[in-house]
Symmetry: C2
Subunit: 352 residues, 2 copies
């Protein structure tokens, strides 16, 4: 039923026969090559249209050696982070009429190796490797096609990895907290084993130090990537005597930040009036539902995907692919969780 006309799909020869020309002429006519009489060209086009002719891309690829396909290998299940990334990747590739073959390695290296073989057999023009954790992952090794690692970094320095700049993102957050007048900053991270937790803690420390402040160890809370942990952390912070309480909190994820905001409110601490909170990820589900909406660091994943894919395309075109790790900047998105009313009034006044 759904499988329609079982008539064999037409080839250049069928078109040639109908148009009364040779297969070579059909090819030229349809691809705008060579010198053809306009009348012939349109006759061929009409015949092709008529038969519903679709040039077999396989045959073209076999001949040209290019498939206009890249493989995207996600090492982790494709989660929340892969979505904007894929969007960016498709933006770049789609513009060049390159399709994406999607493979979900699910963190299993056997499965992954199987997919790589599959992709190479299919003669993809290049491969994008992605995955959630920002820690380095094993290199796929030297492959006959260019490979770009994005979001996740390759452990091999001769590979090109592209990710966002965790330190710079953290600096944005801390500068912002300082700019709105905060002087006693705390940090709430995810699990210690995650690189993101450690990098953002260190960068927080450095940024505060550079401003003549310090990140006290008692103001560093390491836990999980959950809202529940954020709430727990807020409760811990709220329990301190008034004089020892932080007035600004940088959270390593929006989920944590939302938990902190909820926890603060429930402990009777006003956000942002008494304490400013900044998150990381710019995940709409969290930033929008939070009360107040979250100020956060946007890792610009879509741009990241776009950039990585464009680098890969360059390499496919024959240009040299760099190596090492490229860091793209994050952006700060200011919402209500960080800017105390006083500061806002001051700004309004200064503008006026």
């Amino acid at each position: 039923m759904a499988r329609s006309s079982s008539a064999a799909v037409p080839t250049v020869r069928d078109v040639a026969r109908l148009a009364g020309v040779s297969p070579g002429t059909v090819s030229k006519a349809l691809n705008g090559q060579g010198q053809l009489r306009p009348e012939t060209r349109s006759r061929v086009q009409a015949a092709a249209e008529n038969l519903g002719f679709r040039p077999n891309q396989l045959a073209r690829s076999l001949l040209s050696g290019r498939t206009y396909t890249v493989g995207v290998l996600t090492s982790d299940h494709f989660g929340r982070f892969s979505m904007p990334l894929m969007e960016g990747i498709e933006d770049s590739l789609g513009a060049c009429h390159v399709s994406t073959l999607l493979c979900d390695g699910r963190g299993d290296s056997i499965r992954e190796q199987h997919y790589v073989t599959e992709l190479l057999n299919r003669r993809v023009d290049g491969i994008v490797v992605t995955g959630r954790r920002t820690d380095a992952r094993p290199s796929l090794g030297r492959l006959p096609v260019p490979v770009v690692y994005v979001l996740i970094r390759s452990a091999a320095s001769h590979d090109l990895s592209v990710t966002y700049d965790d330190r710079q993102g953290t600096e944005l957050a801390i500068s912002h907290l300082l700019a709105v007048g905060r002087t006693h900053i705390g940090y709430v991270g995810g699990p210690e084993r995650h690189l993101a937790t450690r990098t953002r803690r260190e960068a927080t420390d450095d940024a505060l130090r550079a401003a003549g402040l310090t990140l006290r160890s008692t103001d560093v809370l390491i836990g999980e990537w959950s809202e529940a942990w954020g709430r727990a952390a807020a409760a811990l912070m709220a329990n301190r005597p008034r004089g020892q309480r932080v007035d600004g909190v940088f959270c390593a994820s929006d989920q944590i930040a939302r938990g902190v905001v909820d926890g603060m409110r429930e402990a009777g601490i006003a956000v942002p009036e008494e304490t400013s909170v900044v998150g990381f990820d710019n995940w709409d589900v969290m930033t929008e539902a939070s009360r107040p909406p979250l100020t956060t660091v946007d890792p610009c994943l879509s741009k990241l995907g776009q950039f990585a894919a464009s680098q890969l395309l360059n390499a496919i075109e024959g240009r040299e692919l760099g190596s090492g790790t490229l860091l793209l900047p994050c952006e700060l998105v200011v919402r209500d969780s960080s800017v105390p009313v006083l500061t806002r009034q001051a700004e309004a006044a200064s503008v006026a």
Copy 2:
């Protein structure tokens, strides 16, 4: 640098030369076809290994007429719902060594048509069409390959669409609310224009009627798919005089349900002791962060994807593809937002 040995990739001929046999023999040896002397076979395998030979899938496909590739066309940006769906699709396809070519139509029909052409030119074996809204979408029309619509339904009755059973899912939720002793049920939906909002309201109505109860129009709140709306709805419900308050709420999404739970708590109504709340989607981000965790209807999207892909594979193998809309059942996941302590104690007692 990353583009390694520019030595041309080896072909069957290279392997044949090295093994001292003919190309035909190489093919037989590597594919386990025909009658070969074991010694020859292993010699060929060694030669292939040696050269790092990878059979060109393009050439095989050109010959066999099968690409072992299916196109996945998502009409909506691939969002939260597409992820588990894709996982299921890959499960089925991967088991049969079929790869997925991913296309994001972004709801733009021009773009979509472009992708369909692209997929057909690439000679995919079949196409899966998916998208977020459950309303019907225009059919792709009759294509030379089988097509399955999943999650989203095709407007053409001769197409096969597979989605989950909204009504049955709703019945699960309502039966559960009744089973835990609730008698005054309310419904909080998303926007009226969304089919899901309407279907779930109607099914709620029917299920209550069947139990000798009614869904009063004042207990139906239609709004948005957000937590904020859930909170607002809870506030409205909480404002009623005590005797007119619902004791059970079915929400058309987990986001709404979480908002309702938060709103109830903040209005001083205990969940689940005073009021039971049930959501829809089984979206971990919401169900887990909610206090208490949400009881919800799981549309089993992963299974749905698996099923749809397996139907497509059947059709590719030549079996008849059905038509019309196939509905897969939802499952109820019971957590703490719906079961009053009294009921739990009673259950424990009855087990003992």
